[in-house]
Symmetry: C2
Subunit: 317 residues, 2 copies
């Protein structure tokens, strides 16, 4: 298991997929099972309630119940970095407060993503208001979530500097899902106190070599052993080969939209068809896509260790 | 007062501004006062909880309390078209169910707006799921909310046709805030059973002449008398002159971002500084912008009737 820094998240954090039952409700049993399996197979932490988790396709009440199920099952809160973003200060503050009270190691916060073209002043004011409100529950530990392909609204570097200056010890890091390496590198060069996580393992080795904190990536759900291993051996011989293999696995799962493709593959590996289900507006991927994926993965030498056995052993609640 | 069709919304519907107190909580007293003033001054209905309302900057609980305050104050539910969109089926269905139970004349529903690039199949499945869930509360009356500048995700015409075919009597109309007249005209020509509302009064006369149902426009908050009058006299002489004047008033309020500019102007006209407040991520407009706006409005011959006296007479709760 990857050693977790006492104070900061590091290494691979997995934005955990959310399994849904036939009624589209989150399936707590399978969910807890996946989270435990990912930690057991090497994940440094779990960035639950992210984009890959279809978190914005669920309600705050559903997410609260999922968090409570994890904690009740003994998943350590310190290993969690739940997504807490919302379009409203009210809801974002409620989400952050919940995580602070639970003792989560951090939270991953989207910018308000409804209005487009808002000013840095407006985004700053949003964070300031949320931090003040949530601060009543305890000191928040916030990682910024920069994902322009979905949120459109993003974090420019001057805004990040303002936030770091105004809220030291509260703004701890950023997940950069822009896919833009130049942006990640520029942030690592400019901000000493910002823990930068790349949003795709494609950039993980480069991120670690530039002093970044780690990686938060969708494909962690299906390739946790290799990706978390890179977090340990990145200074050693073989790191480049491992990086190339990880990137190839990611590309294989991207033959279709990755969220339903990974869910379909887990369904195939565990024999639980329910795993393939997504919530609208996402749409599922059919079983017919699996053989070509499996062929690609065999060519690459994909070796997920005991992950699927661990997931598959879980009986739904 | 504009006569309201027994079954369908028509004419001018105002996406009502939301007044916030010093703690940024919605101010129910001022809110009810504005809603009543807008109806008294000619609005055919109130499209509460829209983009202009900063609705996605509030929580479902805050919106529920505002709706309850309106109903308790005697605002007729049949005149309301609350915004109900969400990124999740769970929350959208809860919102629609609340409005169905309250007897609202309709609801205005955004597409799920977090994931970008989703398929028509995914958006269709989202609406189908929400309609099924909310249907337990009674028959939903849904107007689609097409606003690509904010939501990015929108409604293509083939998707609209699928929704109309699958849910006749449930999908009643659309608000088109694309700013693209060709899109509005094409929908009016293609769909007999779809009530088309333009999202800006700039297109109101053209919309009515092409068989559209009316207009849902931000500037209705400050120019309700003239805009609703066009809904009555559009077949008469003087309609083009009135349209030109309305368009000029809209342009004057667009000298700054219209939501804070209108709020600032209401603060100026009523003497209640609280009116100028917006929620982050929007930012306020200073009082220094008012004189130039007033000069523009005087040149245009802006005549808001008794609107500001009606708003100003309200004492905050």
């Amino acid at each position: 298991m990857h050693p977790v820094n006492d104070n900061r998240h590091s290494g691979l954090l997995v934005p955990v997929l959310t399994p849904f039952g036939a009624d589209l409700a989150p399936d707590h049993g399978r969910y807890v099972g996946l989270c435990k399996a990912l930690l057991a197979e090497g994940a440094g932490g779990l960035a639950i309630f992210g984009t890959t988790s279809e978190a914005n396709s669920t309600s705050p009440g559903e997410r609260r119940a999922m968090l409570e199920a994890l904690l009740a099952a003994g998943v350590p809160a310190a290993r969690l970095m739940p997504g807490v973003g919302s379009t409203s200060i009210t809801e974002a503050a409620d989400n952050v407060s919940m995580c602070v009270r639970a003792g989560c190691g951090g939270v991953l916060m989207l910018p308000p993503f409804y209005y487009k073209g808002v000013s840095d002043d407006g985004i700053f004011a949003f964070f300031a208001e949320v931090i003040e409100r949530a601060g009543k529950a305890g000191p928040p530990r916030i990682y910024l979530y920069h994902i322009p392909p979905q949120a459109v609204v993003g974090f420019g570097h001057d805004l990040i500097e303002r936030l770091l200056d105004a809220f030291p010890g509260v703004i701890l890091g950023i997940k950069d899902s822009s896919g833009d390496w130049d942006n990640m590198r520029a942030m690592m060069e400019r901000f000493d106190s910002l823990d930068v996580f790349c949003g795709s393992e494609e950039f993980m080795l480069a991120t670690l070599r530039h002093g970044g904190a780690g990686c938060i990536t969708a494909t962690g759900n299906v390739n946790v052993a290799d990706i978390s291993r890179l977090g340990r051996i990145w200074r050693e011989d073989g790191a480049d080969d491992l990086q190339a293999k990880m990137t190839a696995v990611r590309k294989a799962f991207s033959r279709k939209p990755p969220i339903p493709m990974m869910k379909r593959y887990i369904a195939s590996r565990t024999g639980h068809e329910d795993w393939a289900r997504v919530r609208p507006p996402l749409t599922g991927v059919g079983a017919g896509e699996v053989p070509a994926l499996v062929a690609d993965l065999e060519t690459i030498g994909y070796a997920p260790g005991g992950l699927f056995e661990a997931i598959g052993a879980v009986v739904p609640a």
